[in-house]
Symmetry: C2
Subunit: 209 residues, 2 copies
């Protein structure tokens, strides 16, 4: 797919193709779709992404994206400031918030350590995490990073940084998904779910509460 008949079209396709997961064919389809739309709609798309990039703010406390200096979660007096859940990005915050099971606060790393992609600890919101740990308010940290090699590496790095503060460090449970059949579960997950078995009394008491 070369020889675009218009440099304006080619330029838009080039830019759209830089979006994650978008190849040149899809980008061309998007550009042709935009050409059929009202100019005001295309203006809305273009200005909204520019405005977001230029004006977006990050919460002073947890580094989550926010329109205020401190986000709605960190400024909520009902949230437990002693319990911090460490996540990769805002999507994880949204996913955990949707469960309604967590009343602590978050710390958003903005990525995970990945030597393959050249992302080291200095590229993540770790310095701000350490100064939060240093404040003496935090009682427990829950590591809620992806269950990948990069996630495990980051977990271990963070654990070694946090352990000096005398803070309890836990990680989200890994095990069989609710509704999954054992025979269809991969061996690593199944093995871990046996090693990390949960006392049955704690399951019963949770259901009753």
């Amino acid at each position: 797919m070369q020889n675009y008949p218009s440099r304006l079209l080619e330029s838009a396709v080039n830019e759209l193709a830089k979006l994650p997961g978008i190849g040149r064919k899809t980008a061309l389809r998007m550009a042709l779709n935009l050409l059929k739309r009202h100019p005001a709609e295309v203006e809305a798309l273009g200005t909204s992404v520019i405005k977001m990039r230029n004006e977006v703010n990050y919460c002073r406390e947890c580094k989550n994206i926010s329109d205020q200096e401190v986000c709605a979660i960190c400024s909520n007096p009902k949230r437990d400031k002693g319990l911090v859940c460490i996540v990769e990005d805002i999507r994880d915050v949204m996913a955990i918030e949707n469960t309604g099971q967590f009343d602590g606060v978050y710390h958003v790393l903005g990525g995970i350590i990945s030597p393959m992609e050249g992302i080291g600890p200095q590229d993540l919101n770790i310095a701000s995490m350490i100064s939060r740990m240093d404040s003496g308010v935090i009682r427990e940290v829950i590591l809620a990073l992806p269950t990948t090699i990069e996630g495990d590496t980051t977990n271990f790095y963070l654990y070694r940084r946090i352990m000096n503060f005398g803070i309890t460090v836990s990680a989200i449970a890994r095990g069989i998904s609710i509704g999954d059949e054992l025979e269809h579960t991969d061996e690593v997950t199944l093995g871990r779910s046996i090693l990390n078995r949960t006392p049955y009394e704690s399951i019963i008491s949770r259901k009753q509460s």
Copy 2:
């Protein structure tokens, strides 16, 4: 996925999710990717789509997207102006040009007739097509529309409009793709490929030329 922590983010996700084939989850992934990029890159994306929509030009002859008043194909003296290939959109022009097998010119409809989507003949570049037919220059028209019900409907509509001008009307061959196994070809295609069989001499003479 609701409760975005930032209206700027939500607005960008809403706009990105209007792109064809992009759901809200993908749009959020795109927005987070844009937030990690340099502001100048996001500016380039936003302005390129706005500029394309506002400044794009269509060839006076064939209605293809072009930066000039007449596109490079229509203004090329080596192209056969008596042979017009009718296509749905610019992607088809690019695909046919890439084959290097066509030395005529095009007419880009900008869509096909689709009662389901409320697209009728008046929404397409058909009036301009008729005035080209009326000019007396055109000897043959090749219908190269999608092999769908909508494509067939549009073909038949165009044929009835063109037949009055005493112009030869042909359609691109439908048959077995090169390299395909007969047993994996659908029945309709296989049936048509027998009905529309090609004289073997014409295949041999094409290979020798």
